[in-house]
Symmetry: C2
Subunit: 103 residues, 2 copies
């Protein structure tokens, strides 16, 4: 447990800055996300996550992880393919948009 707490503490020290995406731009860029993440971020497939109202920074980090190959298994290959088409600002905008929705 001590090791876990140490790793957690170090992780919190290195948290990146807050996301600063544009909600309206994110909404315009979200068309492709609907197929899996549903209208307004609520899914019907049990293996996929709801993302409406999720923390913007977490969404940003998750999208970057998929893009950079930091996540494997599940739908990681699909996510990597989509994320490879997106730039830094696109990811921030999508994160801001989904974070703004009611869970």
């Amino acid at each position: 447990m001590k090791r876990v707490c140490l790793i957690m503490a170090l992780g919190m020290l290195s948290l990146p800055a807050l996301a600063d995406g544009d909600i309206a731009s994110g909404q315009n860029k979200a068309a492709a996300c609907v197929a899996c993440h549903g209208m307004e971020g609520k899914v019907s497939v049990p293996a996929y996550p709801n993302i409406a109202g999720q923390q913007a920074l977490y969404l940003e980090l998750a999208m970057k992880a998929y893009k950079d190959g930091g996540r494997s298994g599940g739908q990681a290959e699909v996510m990597k393919a989509y994320m490879s088409m997106l730039g830094e600002q696109d990811i921030k905008d999508l994160a801001a948009y989904y974070a703004s929705l009611k869970p």
Copy 2:
């Protein structure tokens, strides 16, 4: 886009069975999760995900991915350390508990 759709279709064909965890058992096992994921799955640290009301199967798959090393970066080392202490049923119970909470 065709490649993405094919991968997505293949992914949906291989979806595992629904989670069948026990909510009450999950609540009892969730004490360690509170530090990062907050009381009842709502977080205060922007880099961490809210998990209240998330899809049970998605939560199960995510926990297994952390345990098996299928996710890296972010808090993956912390999650792996915690998940290494959990068995299959523990993971299903935690997934059922968090999925049962109001987002």
